[in-house]
Symmetry: C2
Subunit: 246 residues, 2 copies
């Protein structure tokens, strides 16, 4: 058996998230369906670096799977892309060692969150950015608030209250903001992210940016270890999984 690693992109709009669920259209099941065809009906399980929710996008998700087929990686990639629907694409593919695991070998991730601050949102952006109806936040304040999050902390306040993971300590390496015309992007890197963590950080820093909270409040929220202290979970369609580090 060969182990194949692939970097994939998907438009999350029409998916019920990454992970296979009975009766739902998911990224995992679309890829597994095509692999099953290539393997004459045999199920090939695909492992990803992590799940993404419905409507969340990826420009650099990583997956791996095992295959007995001796097709060269580039031809393998072309064969998959030829059969996959247009909203999932294999961007890169290579054979890796058997000990590589898309999830367990991951050392960190980069996510991007996009707000569109145009007065009138372009119809072409409705599924790809979160509309602020012309409201422009104070990015200096958002950066100031973000500083409290960088480093190693218990992120209990910044993950869905239902998260079953025991250890909620994670390290955020960096958070920075970029303007791309009227779009504001938050780019965040860390060694791992809890469920909804990036969206709760985005939602809370947005509230700092529009003056609803002070930058210093971020410190208190972290210390409280209570999800209710943080802001709202920002909508899924502004979020992109951009890169997985190994």
């Amino acid at each position: 058996m060969r182990r194949m690693k692939a970097v994939i992109a998907y438009d999350g709009t029409d998916f019920s998230g990454y992970q296979a669920q009975p009766g739902k259209r998911t990224v995992q099941s679309e890829i597994e369906n095509v692999l099953a065809i290539m393997h004459k009906g045999e199920k090939v399980r695909v492992f990803a670096s992590g799940r993404t929710d419905a409507r969340v996008h990826a420009t650099g998700q990583v997956i791996h799977f095992d295959t007995p087929l001796s097709i060269p990686s580039d031809k393998y990639q072309m064969a998959l892309n030829a059969q996959l629907p247009g909203d999932v694409r294999i961007l890169e593919m290579e054979e890796v060692d058997q000990d590589f695991h898309a999830r367990f070998s991951a050392k960190g991730k980069r996510y991007r969150y996009k707000w569109n601050c145009e007065e009138v949102q372009s119809p072409f952006k409705r599924n790809y950015t979160v509309e602020t109806r012309g409201r422009k936040p104070d990015v200096n304040k958002m950066e100031e608030g973000a500083e409290y999050l960088v480093g190693t902390h218990d992120f209990t306040s910044f993950c869905a209250a239902s998260t079953p993971v025991e250890d909620k300590v994670r390290t955020i390496y960096s958070i920075h903001f970029e303007w791309h015309d009227q779009e504001l992007h938050m780019v965040i890197e860390g060694n791992g992210f809890l469920y909804n963590m990036v969206r709760i950080i985005a939602g809370t820093l947005w509230e700092v940016g529009i003056g609803k909270r002070e930058p210093e409040s971020i410190k208190e929220i972290l210390e409280a270890k209570n999800r209710e202290m943080a802001g709202t979970t920002a909508p899924p369609h502004g979020l992109y999984l951009e890169k997985v580090f190994y």
Copy 2:
């Protein structure tokens, strides 16, 4: 009654074109539905500069309609946008003279056609550009071919054979090509366009670009006044109505 002019944008992906058709989701009917609500159920007919087909986009379509409501233009625009679905947006709105007509007052139009020449097409571009699977045309040859089209000609060879219009003489002011990273855009301006004309021009010039036809063949195609002489009709989702001139 006041006459309102509006510049609108729409993502054509989920529409059966601009024009109202029974049982279909169209741009015109979405706007007319919202206007009917604003006018307490009374039908307000919307007139556009022209139709666009299913999956064709617009970044600068123009419409007009008459209304007894005395709402200022900017508030009117906001009220419409608040109720319209996200894939149609009113970009600008103003009150105009009663003799303005979105279609009959139009002096010309600009369309844009987009090809995506990436090796692997981004999932985010699948509905907005036409995939060439990494193939890059010879743009000099396309420009050379385009030169024969610029000017006043009988465009019978470049419109759908079924077009009922008698007079097929139109003037093309300019055709130019632009690279935007891996995207090739054809920008075309003229005093008017026949049914499918831009897409047949795009499809035919593409064939020139990939060496399937010589640039000089465009002259012969024009002279033949026969649709069968021209190339294939390029797919709808690469096409954008960008501007209407008055």
